[in-house]
């Protein structure tokens, strides 16, 4: 069965600090996809990134970076030099290759204080 765990319920940091959001997943499939979404206070989920299980290269997009490690079944998300606008709930999700549904983690609420 597929499962996504985000152990950090809430994180608070001060602006300009770096912060890492953890995501650990479980799946029996060898082909699967991992996602991160951001849900700002406005409520709409915003797609951030999609990775497939065959691509373990880390990815960087501006202040955002993702570390995918199959050996530990983790897909962690780091925000460098955090800003107040990064305050949101962040969801990690898993989709199996032959599955139709996403499994979302419970989310991590990030508060960036000025």
């Amino acid at each position: 069965a597929q499962k996504v765990t985000q152990a950090q319920t809430e994180i608070s940091v001060v602006e300009k600090e770096d912060v890492t959001l953890d995501c650990v997943y479980e799946t029996r499939d060898t082909t699967y996809y991992l996602f991160w979404y951001k849900q700002p206070p406005s409520g709409e989920l915003v797609f951030l990134i999609r990775r497939n299980s065959f691509d373990e290269q880390n990815e960087i997009s501006g202040r955002y970076s993702w570390n995918f490690q199959k050996s530990t079944s983790s897909f962690n998300f780091t925000i460098t030099a955090s800003q107040v606008v990064d305050s949101a709930v962040y969801f990690c999700a898993l989709s199996e290759h032959y599955g139709q549904n996403f499994v979302f983690g419970p989310g991590t609420r990030l508060s960036v204080l000025p």
């Binding site: 699967y32 139709q100 996403f102």
Partner: protein, 115 residues
Amino acid sequence: GAGVSQSPSNKVTEKGKDVELRCDPISGHTALYWYRQSLGQGLEFLIYFQGNSAPDKSGLPSDRFSAERTGGSVSTLTIQRTQQEDSAVYLCASSLANRGGETQYFGPGTRLLVL
């Protein structure tokens, strides 16, 4: 292009009344999903449509919940005899196809409050 749209944005209803929530997916997207998000909680899968295939209703919490998708595009989620525990944000998402791993794009949600 236009994203996923949902209406109404907010809905307040009285316990026992029926409500209909609407979702317009991104043009060309054949897969459509409904989720429920209770206050401060994660996303709960409700139902999934792919083209003209029979929907996956495995997430619907009770027989008071139903959904349809007309013409493979617009979808309506209906909640009959609403209860206070139905209060939540109902999110709709669409994706290009039903292949595993297709990115889901979300609408802004409908906030339902049952008094």
